[in-house]
Symmetry: C2
Subunit: 574 residues, 2 copies
């Protein structure tokens, strides 16, 4: 640092594409600090190191990094400052901050500039890390039209129509995978691959190493007029772009990219990629395939629930249960999980991002509840489901809360609404019965779900906050797939969540306009043992019974007699 005249170095958990999950190559904070969480910032000056973590990771950061003398800045607690105010406060205006511009967002970089903080973009890792894992380099897989429902050529045509003469920079891996109908396995859970995409003067440039593509795929990319360049040559290429109107999402494009484009006669527009909107509207093939993926996922979940209901709970812990759920999925039709499952017993489930590990996992008992939030990657689609399951005796209060959570979930899934509404206008349906008893859940009600991609995707969502410049105001469209997951989380007591995935589709069209409605894709029963009918209205009882009937009829052909008998009982009318 002294050699480079750097006072403090800024490490973060992103890769070059600002991904949620990252390849091993980018786990540099873990290397330097021993902290393994998915989101953190590490500031290292010439004497001290400071690790910034949010509420999810306060305890874990102490355990993993604090013991080595790293100072933990617990964001959300009194006096804890975010990295930029911390830098200004701690080092003053004259500080020189080192960072890797490829791993910070343009939006973050602009904040540095606005605060007049001097920065120097240096890749300090490669020089310091011994035996750094290689960048992933697996062979990519082309998806056939029977799976994607839309050819690469047609997707590119639609994109070029949106862009007109404008240049477009895409660092985001999901957008690239979607547009090109290609998948990789560089990152856990999300089948994407490291690449950049640039649309410049109506030509499509893919920056990804040619060895990763089969000859057939190369031919077909060539036929679709996609120009392939080495992954390494991206920054040199964009350095040559000038006198262009450029669309890029400042939150999803790295700062190095921004710096390379600046002051060359270019006009930079901070705009969401049109690919995100295309991707969020599933076509008929994607929808039909998703329905099948949810049937497979439902079969695995029913097997898991049956296993859990029948076993002596004192003989297993959360980690065992998680492994068992993974086994049921991967042993049936899933080729991967879509995220690391949350399997949490009683009070552990009140921590929203709790995930059991082999050495830290609660033993279950024949009472209380287990929350399982999990999902799979299938050849047909991506799933995400949460069930809360009774393990034996539970309190009346818990049943009341479970029943209101279930009712809240149905309040949203059963609504009919006029086209043009956005998720933030529907969100109250999933909260009002809980708000009525003074309880809120501190997270969104629903997120978009990708198709053969990330289990979390935008732009549409169902949230209570309303940022007029945010994705909260994006209208829901037929073909969107969204989660519907209200909950009750009582610290130290228990966590309850019910989650189905919903497909948004057209309803009736009459003199008042086009109505929209949801079809529930998830196929798995809710635990009737946790219901207190005093808290259900007739409409919800009708919706629940009709849902359970459909689950039974849909899954029946896939089940053994014993499993079918279990499901019949689990889906009985109430």
């Amino acid at each position: 640092m002294a050699k480079e005249s750097i006072d403090v170095y800024y490490f973060n958990t992103s890769d070059y594409h600002l991904s949620e999950y990252v390849p091993a190559y980018f786990k540099t904070i873990q290397y330097f600090s021993n902290f393994s969480g998915s989101l953190a910032t590490l500031l290292v000056d010439r004497k001290e190191a400071y690790l910034f973590v949010d509420g999810r990771y306060h305890i874990q950061a102490d355990k993993q990094a604090g013991i080595y003398g790293i100072k933990i800045v617990k964001l959300g607690t009194e006096g804890a400052k975010e990295p930029i105010p911390f830098i200004l406060d701690h080092y003053g205006k004259d500080v020189v901050v080192g960072l890797d511009g490829r791993r910070t967002s343009t939006a973050f970089g602009q904040k540095l500039i606005r605060n007049q903080i001097v920065y120097k973009s240096i890749d300090i890792y490669s020089k310091l890390i011994e035996n750094r894992p290689a960048l992933e380099n697996c062979t990519l897989k082309s998806l056939p039209i029977e799976v994607t429902g839309k050819s690469r050529k047609d997707k590119i045509k639609d994109l070029l129509y949106c862009l007109g003469d404008r240049c477009h920079i895409v660092d985001n891996l999901e957008c690239i995978s979607y547009l090109l109908n290609l998948r990789g396995r560089d990152i856990a859970y999300t089948p994407v691959f490291l690449a950049y995409l640039v649309i410049y003067r109506k030509d499509i440039y893919l920056f990804a190493d040619i060895e990763r593509l089969s000859d057939d795929d190369l031919d077909s990319l060539f036929a679709d007029e996609v120009i392939i360049r080495p992954y390494d040559s991206y920054y040199e290429f964009i350095g040559g772009i000038r006198d262009s109107a450029i669309i890029m999402d400042f939150n999803k494009t790295n700062f190095e990219t921004y710096c390379k484009l600046l002051n060359k006669g270019n006009q930079l527009y901070d705009m969401r990629s049109p690919i995100e909107d295309m991707k969020s509207v599933k076509n008929k093939v994607e929808i039909d395939n998703s329905r099948l993926a949810h049937i497979y996922d439902g079969v695995a979940m029913v097997r898991f629930i049956k296993w859990l209901k029948e076993i002596d709970k004192t003989t297993i812990n959360e980690y065992d249960a998680a492994n068992k759920a993974n086994e049921f999925r991967l042993g049936y039709k899933a080729y991967d999980l879509s995220f690391s499952p949350i399997v949490a017993y009683n009070a552990n489930a009140a921590m929203m991002h709790y995930s059991p590990t082999s050495d830290d996992s609660a033993v279950l008992d024949n009472s209380g509840i287990l929350l399982i939030d999990s999902g799979g990657q299938y050849e047909e689609g991506t799933t995400d489901i949460t069930r809360t399951i009774s393990l034996g005796a539970t309190s009346q209060q818990l049943k009341k809360h479970f029943t209101l959570v279930l009712k809240s979930m149905f309040n949203l899934s059963e609504v009919k609404f006029l086209k043009g509404m956005s998720g933030c206008q529907l969100d109250i349906l999933a909260r009002k019965d809980l708000w009525n008893i003074g309880i809120n859940y501190r997270c969104g009600t629903g997120h978009g779900v990708g198709h053969l991609l990330s289990v979390h995707e935008g732009p549409p969502n169902v949230r209570f906050s309303l940022n007029p410049n945010g994705t909260e105001v994006v209208p829901l469209r037929a073909g969107n797939i969204l989660s519907d997951e209200p909950g009750v989380y009582l610290e130290g007591e228990y966590g309850i969540r019910c989650e189905n995935e919903l497909l948004c589709k057209y309803g009736i069209n009459n003199e008042y306009g086009q109505f929209m409605e949801f079809e529930t894709l998830t196929m798995c029963p809710f635990d009737l043992d946790l219901i207190d009918k005093d808290y259900l209205d007739d409409e919800t009882i009708k919706a629940l019974n009709s849902y359970h009937k459909k689950v039974y009829e849909t899954l029946l052909p896939y089940l053994s007699d014993e499993e079918a008998a279990f499901l019949r009982e689990a889906t009985r009318s109430i």
Copy 2:
């Protein structure tokens, strides 16, 4: 027009302050065309005259103006163009348009500029209209602190705090009346007075004729450092403003004002006046007084409903019923109506802005329903209420629709929600039960209500549309008073609306944050004869019974024995 080189003259229905209702002086379209509706545009070229009206006025414009050879442009029908596209299409780019810049909004003027239409601001009326009514010049009335709850001095202090060094132009009459705690009667239904207000270099200038103020009021305005200038001297004064940052609402400030301020080193910011936000949050005194106004209004309404229920309906028409309702209000505590009442029988009520007149009014019958939407101006507050009343036999379908409308109204009024939500996030509560059966109402669910001011006021509202730049996203605040008025309107059959006024206030505050809830201010029963309990859930029945109990208990002290007996029956538990 030839003398002034004008090809076409643009008349509209506004006054200099872009008011909803205007003094007689400004009823120039009526003078020239005989059309008496509240919103229209008249274009007169050297040969023809074109009257532009929206759906409410298609028939009325034919009847009143069409018969004199004026061409009626029926907006909303196929091929009908708005004035600016019409001008471009009809006269071409080289046209010279005459208009009175004081009577068109800045937003409209900017549209002319964007379309490169040459305009000339000329007050053509005064030269042409014989016996033009004089501008209103009544004496103004100062409101005491016991009525306003906040002194003029404190309001000005808060405004100056919001503005900082910025200049602020206020053409809007309600804002001026609110800020200065002054009222007039220049305009029907809304107790405002013609004036302009300018805050320039931290001085408050009121442009209103000094003769309108009593010596005491002059003294007190002087004490509060309000500088009074003649109404006529406004444009000269603002012509002298330069090198200032100026806040003005382009939709509520006239175009002449904009032109006077332009290009003098001024920076103009299109922003809602902070006075609007101040005004929309009622203080304790305003709230307590409003509660009383609603009791008085409820007494008048109960008397009206009793009269209507008891009379032989074949002997009266809508106009008679409207007059009777006015009598009950004005004969008790109201000093004015807050708007021209809508009293509509069966199919007439499906026309949302229907208002009976002495020569056009349907005779009632001892069957069907009467919708009455009306309100009063009281010394204590301003009211707005709608009831739909059974006159005898009604269909099962009508009862179903009435019951769902009533349930929809309670769905909104009973909600508890976290602070920060805006009306467009609650709107679905009042629509979902109607959307569920494929019916929508083509208007907002609720509007703000002024205190001793206009019955319609912003910024908060409850609407289904979500314009990220509009008032739809303004969070609801404790102290807002809003209407809650869902409905069903079936063309040619009937119109149903239930409307209560709601006060937004703080609910519980706990670890999840500050909850908000509504208190219903309106005190008047809903017609139990129209309810079909099959369409009510337990929650709504509970809410209705509890509301009716409160209405009975609250109004009882103000009623005769006979009236009390009627109300007891009308508010019985179901």
